[in-house]
């Protein structure tokens, strides 16, 4: 894996050097792809089994004991971003662009998290609407991503100057995220889970990952926890709380353009989902019951239960007049966990403060207006909401940052995650460059870099 990455990077650098600035990004990406796919690859050949130290857990007096063992360090980096959802993606790209050596790890095989894997395709809220006037708040990395997605044919609805909240095609979203991560020179590592943290006193020095290759360590100067569930800060012992929220599953309706939606609605199928860029497809939200999103037994039960109820409903739709042509295109690869852990941050963002419309000096992002028809100037997110109370070398991003109960609904949205991710990435890079703890980062400098990267700070 290491060899592949090196070759890819080398090739990319050479190609980039050979070509001029115009069209560079697209061409670089395409060249790299072509080279990997055209390399001769013999199949089904025998290779030596890699010598892997075996330290199995043992059953001792009815208890399962994991013996102490040294771990191989798979990778060392300045900034390690955990989780490849909207927040992790933005954090990785921003940190790398701010000049830090950055790695991004993701448990599945694609970027975008619940946006692409959860099929929650509506990027919301990209604007703050005050007195009817819309201000774009998703700027910088997130905006660049949306712009580049929209350049593809049939890739985004509702994406034009002044138009808020596009819906994007999940495959093109994955594709463009891949491109941007690669262009930013982020080391991308898919298919691994964070199993633990590497601690040094109160400071995080890296994470332990689990994958098909066994248990390995990745060392980093600063870790951005964009896992959504706060897996890293929880493992590191940071103070946090846990919430129950609805856990659902999105599915997609195929041949939606050949169905009589009004007749189906009249037949009692009120929820026929939302439009997608492809007119033949709609995505349908299944909210699901409120439960513990960290409990795998519960998640397993819901996966099965949700898929069953989706199929049953699909059969009923197909039997109804106007619905005979539609089919179940896909259920989301990822179950829709809305919120689990929330960080106890150095500066907890409360609803009262958020709704006051004040933009404090430590504002690192401005969230958009939540709720259809709502009219307010959005809300400022202070840097302290990303920083744990005691744990060092860790910055949280995405839905798990330090907010109170009502603000959860704003924080867990894709657009807001792009914003907190962007800020967390820049802050991590700055902490590395200044050689300080994330909590001691110079906020003026942080805001300067964010503004330089195009972010909107009110």
């Amino acid at each position: 894996m290491k060899a592949t990455l090196t070759r890819r990077h080398l090739l990319k650098l050479l190609t980039a050097a050979g070509l001029g600035a115009p069209f560079a990004t697209r061409v670089v990406a395409d060249e790299a792809d072509a080279s990997i796919q055209s390399a001769p690859s013999p199949e089904n050949i025998v290779v030596p089994v890699s010598p892997r130290d075996r330290y199995p857990a043992v059953l001792s007096r009815g208890r399962v004991i994991q013996p102490g063992r040294p771990l191989a360090v798979m990778h060392e980096t300045d900034v390690l971003v955990v989780g490849g959802g909207p927040a992790g993606f933005a954090a990785a790209v921003a940190a790398a662009r701010a000049g830090s050596k950055t790695a991004l790890i993701e448990r599945y095989g694609y970027l975008g998290g619940l946006w692409t894997g959860g099929l929650v395709l509506l990027v919301y809220p990209t604007h703050a609407t005050e007195k009817g006037v819309r201000t774009k708040v998703v700027r910088g990395v997130g905006d660049e991503l949306l712009e580049r997605i929209a350049r593809y044919p049939d890739a985004a609805t509702n994406h034009a100057a002044g138009k808020p909240d596009p819906t994007t095609d999940p495959e093109i979203t994955k594709l463009v995220m891949d491109q941007m991560v690669r262009e930013a020179d982020v080391t991308m590592i898919f298919h691994c889970w964070v199993a633990d943290v590497v601690m040094d006193g109160d400071a995080v020095r890296g994470v332990v990952i689990e994958s098909k290759a066994g248990r390995q360590a990745i060392l980093a100067k600063v870790v951005v926890d964009a896992s959504g569930d706060g897996d890293v800060f929880a493992a590191g012992g940071a103070e946090h709380e846990q919430r129950l929220h609805a856990v659902g599953l999105v599915h997609r309706l195929g041949n939606a353009d050949r169905a009589d939606l009004d007749a189906l609605r009249a037949a009692g199928f009120k929820n026929l989902g939302e439009i997608e860029p492809q007119p033949s497809v709609r995505w349908i939200n299944l909210r699901g019951p409120s439960t513990d999103g960290l409990d795998i037994a519960e998640l397993s039960r819901l996966e099965i239960e949700h898929r069953r109820s989706i199929w049953q409903r699909m059969e009923r739709i197909r039997q109804s007049s106007g619905g005979d042509k539609v089919f179940l295109l896909q259920t989301a690869p990822q179950i829709g966990v809305r919120i689990t852990r929330l960080l106890a941050a150095t500066r907890q963002l409360t609803e009262a403060e958020a709704r006051s419309g004040v933009r404090p000096a430590d504002t690192i992002a401005v969230g958009g207006t939540y709720g259809p028809g709502a009219d307010n100037p959005g809300f400022a997110i202070p840097y302290g909401a990303l920083v744990p109370k005691k744990l060092d070398n860790l910055i949280a991003a995405g839905r798990c940052i330090g907010v109170d109960t009502p603000m959860v609904e704003d924080m867990r949205l894709i657009a807001t995650c792009l914003l907190t991710g962007h800020a967390a990435g820049v802050a991590a890079a700055l902490a590395v460059q200044e050689g300080c703890r994330p909590r001691d980062v110079d906020i003026l400098r942080l805001r300067q870099i964010l503004l330089h990267q195009g972010a909107f700070l009110g």
Binding site: A246, F269, K270, N271, L272, G273, E274, I284, N285, L286, R287, G288, P289, S290, S309, R313, G371, P372, G373, A374, T405, P406, E409
Partner: protein, 436 residues
Amino acid sequence: MAATKLRNVRSRLRRRLVRWSAFAAAVALGWPGSSEGPPECAAVVLPALSPFVALGSALSTRSVGILALLALPLFLLAWSMRCGFCRFACPVGLLQDTLTSLRSVRRRHWIGAPAIGPCLLIATATGAVLGHPLFLWLDPLALFAAWLNAWRTPIAWIAVAGGLGLPALLIVELFWPGLWCARICPLGAGQRMLWQGHRLVVRLIRGRTHYAGPETSCGADSSGTVLLARRSRRHFLAAGAGVVGAAVCRGAYGPSTPLRPPGAASEEQFGGLCVRCGNCARVCPSRIIHPDVAGRWSAWMAPRLDFTHDYCREDCHRCNAVCPSGAIARLSLAEKSRRVIGLARLDPDTCLMALGRECNACVRVCPYKAIAVDNTLDPFSPRPRVDLDRCNGCGACESVCPTRPERAMRVRPVDRETGDQAETQGAFFGAFWFEG
């Protein structure tokens, strides 16, 4: 002669001083503007000073509260001094007289008109016995307070509309100078009746059994047994009209009653008991209380709640402290939060959550944690479910519900006749309410 003239001038000056002082005091008591002024609950004093309001309130509610004490000074004044209130204290009368004194022509075309003030008073009293005082809203102090309350900031046309009673009286004064005070004002009529009662008592005490009618009073009155007999018949008819009117008004409300402030009297009483002084609307911090300009006739301009922009705050019971007539009960905060204004009901056809959208605005805003998400009917159309035991109709959910033009979550009035909302709703899937 000169001395008498001087004395007259002096007494006129003194009277003018007293009247303007009383006027200033009334304005100071009722003015809604400044924060340095008297506390908001002082607003209750001005309309509550009226014995007419106190009488209507006591008869209708069949209870005498501590507020009735406020009416005692004017009662005693009217009892002990002929037209004491009109001549010295009434701010409306002062405005009327000042307006007339500015005009050169002071002809009284109406001099032969019958005095309908006593009839209004009697009809109100008999109506009040049936729970619906008919003309309580004609109380001059309430009209004056309503006019002051119209100037609460920020000034809104609907608030100003609630204070138009006093300007209307002034227009009447322009065309028929003195008509209101002498012939219509029910408070003035009550005062004159009190004075007559006083005279009667005095005469009885002095052993004079023959009653020759009252002496002249401030409104040009005449005397004579024939007149007295005619008046008695008129008063008797007024009493009957009060009973009939109250019965009609009590029946004249349909199924769609508007939402009233928390602790409001029952709908069949409310329109009569409310004096339209605007105190409740003035002190409401959420500005959700408005005069019901489109309301039905028997409760026209009475306060109604509008949850379009805000809701009845869980930490507030100010309207409960300022009602002079008992149309809104004096409730503590705990009592108020248990008092049901209405009940939130969902229209699942427009509810965004039921359409699969990520909206839970009503769930997150409910101050009483009365709304939960129900997945059981159809997991693809989950619905906010209202716990009727917890909901008091504060309207927080309605104020944030994003659907337009109609809110999917709306507070509907409880059927006051049965008084049992759970029963009417129980027929529809437990807590759910389906439209149509």
